[in-house]
């Protein structure tokens, strides 16, 4: 792989996410640039991806909570088998606790590292709401 090919994939378009009646508040907030997670009022645990029922205690008393979207890279993999150039997928462990699957953008992909601090931003999609992605801070 040449260095040139390891630059972020400007060309990779993110498809429209599948929005359900359950997840619509998340995507409506994303349109406003807000990153929401769900927390359970019964057991106080935050979780990801957001659900109506808490995946830990099964309470239906879950609420949306705005998160600063800060955390560290748990793991990542840069995909080279891509017609639009390399891109990085990985998990971020949010400071609140939950791990979030995402893309790492606007950075030198060859410098990504486990433990690196990252922060959320939103990236446009093909006709749908913007999706949360992360960049090193």
């Amino acid at each position: 792989m040449s260095q040139a090919q390891d630059k972020p994939a400007e060309g990779r378009k993110i498809p429209a996410p599948a929005v359900t009646i359950e997840s619509k508040p998340f995507w409506d907030a994303a349109e406003q640039g807000k990153f929401l997670i769900k927390r359970c009022n019964a057991c106080n645990e935050p979780h990801w991806y957001p659900r109506a029922l808490c995946p830990f205690c099964f309470s239906d008393d879950t609420v949306w909570e705005e998160s600063p979207g800060e955390g560290v890279i748990y793991t990542y993999s840069t995909m080279h088998r891509s017609p639009t150039g390399p891109y990085a997928i990985g998990y971020v462990t949010l400071n609140e606790g939950p791990a979030v699957l995402t893309n790492f953008v606007d950075c030198d992909l060859s410098k990504l590292a486990i433990g690196q601090k990252v922060k959320v931003k939103f990236q446009a999609t093909e006709g749908g709401p913007p999706v949360p992605v992360f960049s090193p801070v």
């Binding site: 996410p17 599948a18 929005v19 979780h47 995909m79 088998r81 979030v100 699957l101």
Partner: protein, 395 residues
């Protein structure tokens, strides 16, 4: 109730094709069924249980039973855990047989991925409209996840936590290639070296091209029978003595651990039922979608301690006649066959060959009377289903 000794795998057939532009997927399922029936010495009218997964087209069991003209089916199961489905099917067939729901169970897998182009994950969204599909889809399918990079994430974390190296992972491919050279049907027959694996082009860090399995058309089938039917046949008796299954996912994102698989749970269930230990196994079929898949499952099943998989697989330890644990002696998914991107059924088929003494003489394990087949379907990096089956050759 235990399934131990309640069912026997009496038919096993792997389709010889690896590229099938001229056959339909239902046709491949039926050809595999026919092959397994011939192997067992049974006819399709003997089949009273049918098991298939998501690769069976149309309505799955209903479409395939009708297509194949199976007249006597009174038990159906379409458990879907991706590539490991067929390991779960063996366990479920044994349960159904033990409960008297059927006596001759047919399991089929087939498909033609070589005839389709590769697209890394579509989003599945419809702009402006709500959908009602998989709950995780909106939050995951947008990021271009594929098997390559989601397994790559596991390998990256395993390396970080345990110091596992690309060279150690490469030994898994090297071992598979040593076996594949003797398999006339293997998609890749050339023996490769550690250097060739680590110098092959990067697909999804840290996995190279040769860390990945092959993409092949084809399929396979199994016949699982009651003890009475088994003993009426002229084939060696391969008895199912233990089975375990377990789903694993990110679990709400709490304490995510991508360095272990569902084998951590399915393995002990199967070993306990069988009353044996990993160290008793003479042979193991281990799902090998990628080299990292093998390494993590070997650790989780208890063949070595967590984090010591890299050391365990090195220096040919998985090569038949050389190492302590002969694995995937057909060349596995890494070299031989990974029909329709699902390697579960071929794992059982090669274990059956070993237990019958019908593996290639160059890779046959002497006195192979106890074997394991294990699979992981879906993605190790997100959610997957693990299935373990333990089999014994009955004298």
């Amino acid at each position: 109730m235990s399934i131990k000794g309640k069912a026997y795998i009496m038919g096993a057939y792997e389709h010889p094709t690896r590229d099938a532009p001229d056959k339909s997927t239902p046709q491949l399922h039926a050809e595999c069924a026919k092959g397994a029936l011939a192997d067992a010495g049974l006819t399709k009218d003997d089949i009273d249980g049918y098991f298939c997964a998501g690769d069976a087209p149309g309505f799955g069991g209903m479409s395939m039973v009708d297509y194949m003209g199976l007249k006597n089916v009174r038990h159906m199961d379409s458990t879907e855990t991706g590539g490991s489905s067929y390991l779960l099917h063996v366990g479920h067939a044994a349960q159904a047989i033990a409960a008297g729901k059927c006596t001759v169970a047919l399991i089929t897998l087939a498909g033609r991925p070589r005839q389709n182009k590769f697209f890394p994950g579509g989003g599945g969204g419809r702009p402006g409209q709500l959908t009602d599909g998989a709950p995780e889809a909106g939050f995951e399918n947008i990021y271009g996840g594929s098997t390559h990079n989601t397994y790559g994430m596991c390998a990256m974390r395993h390396m970080y936590e345990y110091g596992t190296t690309s060279e150690q992972l490469a030994w898994i491919k090297v071992a598979a290639s040593h076996h594949a050279q003797y398999n006339e049907h293997a998609f890749l027959k050339d023996v490769v070296t550690v250097e060739q694996v680590v110098n092959s082009r990067m697909i999804a860090d840290p996995l190279h091209l040769l860390d990945c399995c092959v993409v092949t058309d084809g399929g396979g089938a199994l016949i699982v029978t009651s003890p009475e039917v088994a003993k009426s046949l002229k084939r060696p008796l391969v008895k199912v003595i233990g089975a375990g299954e377990a789903p694993k996912g990110p679990r709400g994102g709490k304490d995510l651990d991508l360095t272990h698989s569902g084998a951590l749970w399915s393995g002990p269930i199967a070993f306990e039922e069988a009353g044996v230990t990993p160290q008793d196994m003479k042979y193991a079929s281990i799902y090998d979608s990628f080299t990292i898949t093998v390494l993590m499952q070997l650790e989780d099943l208890g063949f070595c301690k967590k984090g010591e998989g890299g050391k365990f697989v090195s220096d040919g330890n998985l090569i038949s006649g050389v190492g302590k644990l002969p694995f995937n002696t057909d060349g596995g998914g890494l070299c031989n066959n990974h029909p329709t991107n699902r390697g579960g059924i071929t794992k059982v088929i090669e274990a059956v060959r070993q237990l019958r003494g019908e593996a290639h003489p160059k890779v046959q394990v002497p006195n192979c009377d106890l074997a394991l087949a294990h699979g992981t379907g879906g993605s190790l990096g997100t959610r997957h289903g693990a299935g373990t089956v333990i089999m014994e050759r009955e004298a």
